[in-house]
């Protein structure tokens, strides 16, 4: 145990927490009597500075993991760094959306909670220990519940937060329950130790292990909104204030998938792979194959259900927020395919996908926010004639939704291609192939519901003709996101090389 080391590794989290406190203090001490907008601007910009500091700290931390004794507690470097930088960047983008929003007077508290939740996200992206994971998850989740309920004047916001909280509390209980069994089996809370213990239980895995696995799947499935643990998502997306919804849809997803990628990476560590092979017999080899097959079929099952339910339910929606929620469920299904194959290439593809998806979805929520404030609704029909009322916004919407549908040359297409190629490259099995084929086919279905919105924005005549004014900062952020989606789509190697460089 070395506190200097701990401080070095958790410097990014510290930076975020410090920024959170600073935001609160500045607002309380200097800006009590100021108008809302400057306060929001200060809170948001301080938060962005905090994110930048955290990003710098992540770079500075390098790739030396933090170990307690000789067990790695917090990993660093590689995909962990990528995920962490993604989390702080997306947090900063979300905070920028706060400047123009007016759902609350407590902007500093909002920014502070966002930053703290992001710190939780950073923690689970690097955690290699059950307890650290759980603490990070709770830090993230509790922040999300508060953020969902933040529009205090909106009954919808309160309702969705309560639903989210109840589901979340339940799933956290499942997760902790599963973790406790896992600890009971392996005698350690460290991922690496648990993995090698599982592979070395020569006499066969105890049945209790499968209970643990299912409980953990429920807990983590909730975080990534995989079917059948997805029920909170449409309500939360619909009721939460827009920056919160964008945060839930992006940062929280990135962090949760980063956790899954972390778990996969444990199984890929050379030490973990070679340990049982040394003195294992046939039974143990079979054992480990069985373990892999069982776990990956469990994930495939979740992926299958998420793709089907997400895409098909999205067809029936009339609210863009709920549409985005179901499409998020569908996307989670695609991404889980990359987790299930359990290769490092799959993991890189997963991160690529979730990072670009997160950016796109923040933009989508930004557009919804502007339209919603002008028309008072997020129904499809609120978007009627958008091309006339605000051409830039309509163009941004087109780029983002086509990217979500996976149309080249936008980044969503490349993310899908890369992910599916990684899945097919990892195994020749019939099941992965069938699932990829299904995912591609369902992408065709998804075009239908994205076009339903674009049709209203671009094709059908407007009911009201007066222009929609987009607030300047929001508009700038949205244009930036759309430009990034196009640019990364045309030059996918930019981001891919960057990911590979860690």
């Amino acid at each position: 145990m070395n506190y200097a080391d701990l401080f070095r590794v958790t410097l990014p989290e510290t930076a975020l927490e410090f920024a959170a406190l600073l935001v609160l203090v500045v607002d309380l001490a200097f800006l009590r009597k100021t108008a809302l907008r400057p306060r929001a601007a200060v809170a948001s910009l301080l938060g962005v500075v905090g994110c930048l500091a955290a990003a710098w700290a992540i770079f500075a931390a390098g790739s030396v993991p933090y170990a307690y004794g000789n067990e790695i507690l917090l990993a660093a470097g590689g995909l962990v760094t990528v995920a962490q930088i993604g989390i702080v960047v997306l947090t900063a983008v979300t905070l920028l959306l706060l400047i123009d929003s007016a759902f609350t007077r407590h902007v500093a508290e909002f920014a502070a909670v966002v930053l703290m939740a992001a710190a939780g996200g950073l923690l689970i992206a690097s955690a290699r220990d059950l307890l650290v994971t759980f603490v990070g998850l709770e830090l993230l989740s509790l922040g999300l519940y508060i953020l969902t309920a933040f529009a205090k004047t909106s009954a919808k916001s309160a309702e969705s937060a309560l639903k989210y909280y109840l589901f979340g509390g339940m799933s956290a209980a499942f997760l902790l329950f599963g973790f406790s069994y896992l600890y009971g089996i392996a005698g350690s809370t460290n991922f690496y130790a648990i993995y090698s213990a599982l592979r070395q239980t020569g006499a066969g895995l105890p049945p209790i292990f499968f209970v643990a696995l299912v409980a953990i799947a429920a807990g983590l499935g909730f975080k990534v909104a995989a079917v059948p643990f997805h029920l909170w998502a449409p309500d939360a997306y619909e009721g939460a204030p827009t920056p919160s919804a964008a945060f839930i849809a992006s940062v929280s997803k990135v962090a949760s998938f980063a956790l899954l990628v972390g778990i996969v990476s444990v199984t890929l560590t050379p030490a973990a792979v070679t340990v049982p092979r040394v003195e294992s017999g046939l039974a143990e080899a079979l054992q480990s194959i069985f373990l892999n097959i069982f776990v990956s079929s469990l994930i495939f099952l979740l992926a299958l259900a998420s793709m089907l339910v997400g895409n098909l339910a999205a067809l029936a929606q009339h609210s863009v927020r709920r549409l985005l929620a179901y499409s998020a469920i569908a996307h989670a299904g695609y991404i889980l395919l990359g987790i299930a194959v359990g290769t490092s290439r799959g993991s890189a593809a997963v991160l690529y996908y979730i990072l670009t998806y997160g950016l796109t979805t923040i933009g989508a929520f930004g557009v919804v926010d502007v339209v919603e404030r002008a028309t008072g609704s997020d129904n499809f029909d609120a978007f009627l004639g958008l091309h006339k009322r605000n051409p830039v916004l309509a163009a941004v919407l087109m780029v983002l939704f086509l990217s979500l549908a996976g149309i080249p040359p936008l980044v969503g297409f490349w993310a899908k291609f890369n992910l599916f190629a990684a899945v097919l490259g990892a195994s020749n099995g019939a099941i992965p192939f069938a699932l990829v084929a299904l995912a591609v086919a369902l992408s065709a279905v998804s075009l239908y519901y994205y076009l339903q919105v674009l049709k209203r924005a671009w094709v059908q005549p407007a009911v009201h003709d007066q222009p929609i004014q987009a607030p300047p900062v929001t508009l700038a952020v949205l244009v930036f996101i759309a430009a990034a989606v196009v640019l990364l789509g045309c030059f996918p190697s930019l981001l891919q090389n960057w990911i590979a460089s860690f």
Binding site: P408, F413, F417, V436, V440, L447, L451, V459, Q496, A500
Partner: protein, 502 residues
């Protein structure tokens, strides 16, 4: 030189999209200038390429980690089809001269579609080809949905979903070919030489072929074509029939047959005389020829006649491909060119010259309008175009369909006989439409009721004359001297038959 066509079109689309909306004349002239420049580049590239084999135009690394290259190349087939695209785009813009609703958007989508089409014809990398192929889908949707007529939103969505389902099948083929070849390249040449296992080709060929053939209007996946053609604005129908259906046929030839030639091998058993995928698709093509012609014979809407005639004529392309011999394949490529020109001409006459003046396409109503005397230009243009469509000697359709029939006869004479029946019906439906639309005088008019109720239909404008002349000259030139194109097509077909993309 040829690569310029792509860049010009996309740059033109971008500029037009950013143009202010109150300058329709500027938008028109700009679009025409871009299209003419594209045609000039295509023509120059075509002339420069005569007598040459495959020439590489651009070869840059694009996504090095997956071996994907920005590889543009042209062989005789590509050059012919690029030339067709150039002609069709200029003609399409000439026939859209009267579009005054969101003119700049119209031409922006139009040029984006054209750019995608050029891109497909010039790509020699499967991934790149697929990207361009999908880029072409979205503008089609908006062109039909915004500027279309009868049931336009339904038709546009149907077309988009059909196209996207087709491209999903192609994408599955692309992903699995990439994973199976393991060569870390998506170049068509490399994949053709990767030695894909025969069993793989056996299932991948029908998948990819069907995926592309959906867009080529193969029966029974043709139903998007008539509704799409009818709903589309004139220029879009011209492009749909003229070049977009060729995208599908080109994909069948270049990708499905080029990459998976063993998919055409006999299965080793025969069911009802069908012993290979070749038989299956040839029979579907023949059904398309006969069925399309018979249905065209029964239509009451003038544009549906032409819409179904496209299904019939595209059947000849697919039949020529399945003949799998030199003459059949050359005929298929020539038929692509020929049908692109002739269908464009027919749609222009029906949709622009007649419909925009009479505001009806019902043959029963046109019968009462004495169009041969009120619109003699339209009537005689349709007579000539109809002769070309029937396949009379002297027009390009004759040479093309004769070659296809000869090729099909060599492969299986029953195919040729059935297709020949389709040709006869083809004469009948053109004849019927010609007579009903232009040359029926149900009521005595000339002396008894001199021109009562003949409100002015408007003079024929110069863009219409220019467009008709361009298309007529093209079909006549190729009909009278088919060697201009065949000299380019035949060597390319030969090398394709000789194996892969060599």
């Amino acid at each position: 030189m040829l690569a310029l066509t792509i860049y010009l079109s996309f740059a033109g689309a971008l500029v037009l999209a950013l143009l202010p909306k109150d300058r329709p004349a500027l938008a028109r002239w700009l679009a025409l200038a871009v299209a003419v420049a594209g045609l000039a580049a295509a023509l120059a590239g075509f002339l420069a390429g005569i007598g040459q084999g495959r020439t590489v135009l651009v070869d840059l690394p694009w996504i090095p980690s997956m071996g994907i290259r920005f590889l543009l190349a042209a062989d005789g087939i590509s050059r012919v089809l690029v030339l067709l695209t150039g002609i069709a785009s200029v003609a399409g813009i000439l026939f859209s001269w009267n579009i005054d609703h969101r003119t700049h958007h119209f031409f922006a989508f139009f040029l984006a579609l054209i750019g995608g089409v050029y891109g497909v014809f010039l790509s020699f990398d499967f991934f790149l080809l697929f990207v361009f192929y999908e880029i072409a889908i979205v503008p089609k949707y908006f062109l039909i949905a915004i500027w279309g007529s009868t049931r336009r939103e339904y038709a546009a969505m149907k077309l988009a979903i059909y196209s996207f389902v087709g491209s999903a099948m192609v994408l599955i083929g692309l992903l699995s070919a990439y994973a199976t070849a393991g060569s870390h390249s998506t170049s068509l040449i490399a994949l053709a030489h990767a030695g894909l296992p025969v069993s793989f080709q056996m299932w991948c060929f029908p998948l990819v072929f069907t995926g592309f053939a959906i867009l080529a209007g193969m029966w029974p996946f043709h139903t998007w074509a008539p509704t799409g053609h009818v709903a589309a604005p004139t220029a879009a129908s011209m492009l749909l029939a003229g070049v977009v259906m060729k995208l599908g046929a080109y994909g069948c030839l270049r990708v499905a047959i080029g990459l998976f030639p063993h998919g055409l091998d006999p299965w080793g058993f025969a069911f009802l005389g069908i012993g290979s995928w070749r038989d299956v698709f040839a029979i579907l093509a023949v059904i398309g020829i006969v069925y399309g012609a018979l249905v065209a014979l029964a239509q009451s809407d003038f544009k549906f006649v032409i819409g179904y005639s496209s299904v019939s004529h595209m059947g000849f392309v697919l039949l020529g491909l399945m003949a799998l011999n030199q003459i059949g394949l050359s005929g298929a490529v020539l038929q692509m060119f020929s049908h692109g020109i002739i269908a464009g001409l027919l749609f222009a006459i029906v949709g622009r010259i007649v419909y925009d003046r009479t505001h009806t396409r019902q043959l029963a109503e046109l019968e009462t309008m004495h169009l041969s005397r009120r619109l003699p230009f339209a009537a005689w243009a349709f007579v000539i175009a109809g002769m070309a469509s029937m396949g009379l000697p002297g027009f390009s359709g004759f040479v093309a369909e004769l070659q296809v029939l000869v090729g099909a006869w060599a492969a299986n004479r029953w195919w040729a006989i059935a297709a020949g029946l389709g040709l006869v019906v083809g004469v009948a439906y053109i004849w019927r439409a010609l007579q009903k639309a232009f040359f029926t005088d149900l009521q005595p008019t000339a002396e008894d009721h001199p021109k009562t109720g003949w409100h002015d239909l408007g003079a024929i404008a110069w863009p219409e004359i220019a467009g008709v002349s361009l298309l007529l000259l093209s079909t006549l030139a190729v009909g009278l001297w088919p060697r201009i194109l065949l000299d380019s097509i035949e060597p390319a077909v030969q090398s394709l038959l000789a194996g892969g993309g060599r």
